[in-house]
């Protein structure tokens, strides 16, 4: 059978220079995903707030943002930010970009992944907002809180607890999606695995290792999120949907 | 008709839902079970038709032991009708279809015969004109009456009611209770878990008061209301009677 005639060489994973490359790749996955996530949450909350705003143009803009990002693949976004976006800058802008940001692919990845994930985060926050009865707002206003204070002290913390499970899943998805940055040249985990194969023909070992990396991330996120959930749990409050 | 002998039921290792309950219900009797929430009333009811498994004791219905390996539980259940607090009508079927499903599939009746009998039952409970409506189009009182008709369709010898009016708006309670009074006066053996004391006074042959899985008091309905023997029964009555 084929699998026995394959010559496994697991040392590829730690032998220099490959071991070093794998490590760098994993770290790249980690920081790219985290940066994109921070962008996604910040942007996502803004979009969600605009979608529930009483000002119609804001609602339409927010709605359009979500619809556009939800119906186009992440890969198209990454290509757009990497290949097309610089061309939209004036010549001087482009020159500055190419001269001062050598790893532009990385930043295109962060922005592309962040903006894409933001649309999904926005939807989750919005469903959290909508699940909170209007009377909660009224109760807060009747004690004198302003709109902004109400959102900051009452609505957002409440909404956050409601959506935490979906939020956790989205966090993991962000890490998984970071793998797509390889298509614009970013040397993250998956790309590194593929790259090492082109030198050593031991792609099976490297992709297996890469799989383990992602699975570990998934487990770590799941475990830490259940710790977080326990910490912020309010007795009697249902944080999980049935 | 129904012999409950020293039945105990545990959920998990700690919570004892039923504690050494014994009771005999004769043919044609109407027995009311009341008590505090969590007292085991619903669990007891569900043990009678095998929807819940108890760990200790024995229940015999019409000569058949409920948990005996050789008892055909499906056949036994056809002889017992059950009405639920939340109606549990099948939302994807009309009222008529809800009623004819079991007669056609279990009792192997022809569709015409089943439909004829279903129509008779619907007019008996007063809603023949709703036969082709879906549960979503019916009021609570109408739904519960369809549920009663559905339970009666298999021509049961015993009817079990689990808080049949607790989920109804006040103005619809009477129409359901009227149907139940008719059934009792026609000689059906009934076990009813309820807080409707007016109904109890009208038709009950015996009332059982339960608390924390045990039968605290049982006896004649009028005696129970006028002179409750135990302190817990007295507390209970003082709380529910205005």
């Amino acid at each position: 059978m084929g699998i026995f005639s394959y010559d496994f060489d697991w040392s590829v994973l730690w032998r220099e220079p490959y071991g070093h490359l794998m490590l760098k790749g994993v770290l790249t996955t980690l920081h790219l995903s985290l940066l994109a996530w921070i962008l996604a949450v910040a942007l996502g909350i803004l979009v969600a707030l605009s979608r529930v705003s009483s000002w119609r143009p804001a609602r339409l803009l927010g709605g359009a943002y979500v619809q556009v990002f939800r119906n186009t693949p992440l890969l198209v976004h990454l290509f757009f930010w990497y290949y097309a976006a610089p061309l939209l800058l004036p010549r001087t802008g482009q020159e500055w970009l190419y001269n001062h940001i050598p790893n532009y692919a990385y930043w295109a990845g962060v922005v592309g992944l962040g903006a894409y994930t933001a649309s999904r985060v926005a939807e989750q926050f919005r469903s959290g907002f909508l699940a909170i009865p209007l009377d909660q707002h009224h109760a807060a206003y009747s004690t004198g809180l302003t709109r902004i204070q109400t959102y900051r002290y009452v609505i957002l913390p409440y909404a956050f607890r409601l959506i935490l499970p979906a939020f956790t899943t989205e966090f993991l998805t962000c890490f998984k999606n970071s793998a797509l940055a390889m298509t614009i040249g970013v040397m993250e985990t998956t790309h590194t695995a593929y790259y090492i194969d082109s030198f050593t023909w031991h792609g099976l070992e490297t992709t297996t290792a890469a799989s383990l990396v992602y699975l570990t991330i998934a487990v770590v996120i799941a475990v830490s999120m259940s710790v977080v959930e326990k910490r912020i749990h309010i007795p009697g409050m249902i944080t999980r949907g049935r | 008709m129904i012999e409950i002998e020293h039945v105990s039921l545990w959920y998990g290792k700690e919570f004892k839902a039923l504690d050494n309950v014994s009771e005999t219900i004769s043919s044609g009797q109407t027995v009311i079970i009341c008590g505090t929430s969590g007292s085991g009333k619903s669990s007891l009811l569900r043990c009678i038709n095998g929807l819940e498994r108890f760990q200790d004791g024995k229940i015999t219905v019409d000569g058949l032991s409920v948990q005996h390996a050789r008892t055909n539980i499906q056949k036994l259940r056809s002889r017992i009708g059950m009405v639920f607090q939340h109606f549990e009508l099948y939302p994807h079927m009309t009222a008529l279809e809800n009623i004819t499903l079991a007669p056609v599939r279990v009792a192997k009746k022809s569709k015409q015969l089943a439909r004829k009998e279903a129509n008779e039952l619907l007019s008996r409970v007063g809603i023949l004109d709703q036969a082709d409506k879906y549960p979503g189009e019916l009021s609570g009182g109408q739904k519960q009456r369809v549920a009663i008709a559905r339970a009666l369709a298999m021509k049961p010898k015993i009817m079990l009611f689990d808080e049949p009016t607790s989920a109804l708006d006040p103005e619809m309670i009477k129409e359901v209770l009227d149907v139940m009074v008719d059934l009792a006066e026609a000689g059906m053996t009934m076990v009813v878990v309820t807080h409707e004391m007016g109904f109890a006074k009208k038709v009950a042959d015996e009332i059982i008061f339960m608390d924390q899985g045990k039968v605290i008091e049982k006896g004649n309905v009028h005696m129970f209301f006028r002179r409750p023997q135990t302190e817990r029964a007295q507390q209970f009555l003082s709380r529910i009677l205005v």
């Binding site: 290509f79 797509l180 998934a218 | 059950m82």
Partner: protein, 217 residues
């Protein structure tokens, strides 16, 4: 803005959509079938069925699709002994991957049917099989259709990942055109527009189904 780039190369690029649709269709049919089997195993009380299915689902849901595509691309020749063409390799990867997602949709659809329904059916004497057939499955299907349609849209978007193993589907053709013509802005906006149009139709259908489902409640 030079729109003639799009017009000139449209036949070539749009021709790739045929492959995208083929891949999506195979994935949906085979993936849903496998997903139903996995969901049934996950709902079973027999450990020999439950554990493998659960591990499978958690495993594939923890990995990026792009990695699964590569992994299978390396693995398939080793296991099968012969080299495999890109389309087959991609198709296997997609089916195996998406099945895990379909499985969860099917499973939640079934679990969303209230247990009271099962109790009511049993109380009238219906057997477990009859209860499943007449009471649970019709309601479960009703529950899952919107989510299944959404997942179908996701599958279609995911076909763009065939790119990484050289599959000449739509996005790769856009990319090739860009390499030749260097008019990235127009071309990628065009790509976005094409995906947007197709997927919006799917999303709209799903939303309409969801509305009808909520009304029927």
């Amino acid at each position: 803005m030079d729109l003639s780039v799009i017009v000139r190369n449209a036949p070539f690029m749009l021709g790739g959509l045929v492959l995208s649709f083929e891949l999506a269709a195979i994935t949906i049919v085979a993936g849903l079938t496998l997903g139903i089997i996995l969901a049934s195993a996950r709902l079973s009380s027999k450990p020999v069925l439950y554990y493998p299915a659960t591990i499978y689902v958690h495993f594939f849901r923890g990995l990026p699709l792009i990695l699964v595509i590569f992994w299978l691309y390396f693995l398939a020749p080793v296991i099968l002994g012969t080299s495999v063409n890109e389309f087959t390799s991609a198709a296997i990867a997609f089916v195996v991957f998406e099945a895990a997602y379909f499985a969860e949709i099917v499973r939640s659809g079934i679990q969303a049917v209230p247990t009271g329904q099962v109790m009511a059916a049993h109380s009238t004497g219906l057997s477990s099989l009859q209860t499943a057939r007449f009471v649970v499955i019709p309601q479960a299907l009703h529950n899952m259709v919107p989510a299944l349609v959404t997942q179908a849209v996701v599958v279609f978007q995911d076909t763009s990942l065939g790119y990484v193993i050289g599959l000449r589907e739509f996005l790769r053709r856009v990319n090739l055109t860009d390499a030749r013509e260097a008019r990235s802005v127009e071309l990628y906006l065009f790509a976005g527009l094409v995906y947007f149009s197709i997927c919006s139709l799917g999303s709209l259908a799903s939303q309409r189904l969801e509305k009808r489902r909520a009304e029927g409640q």
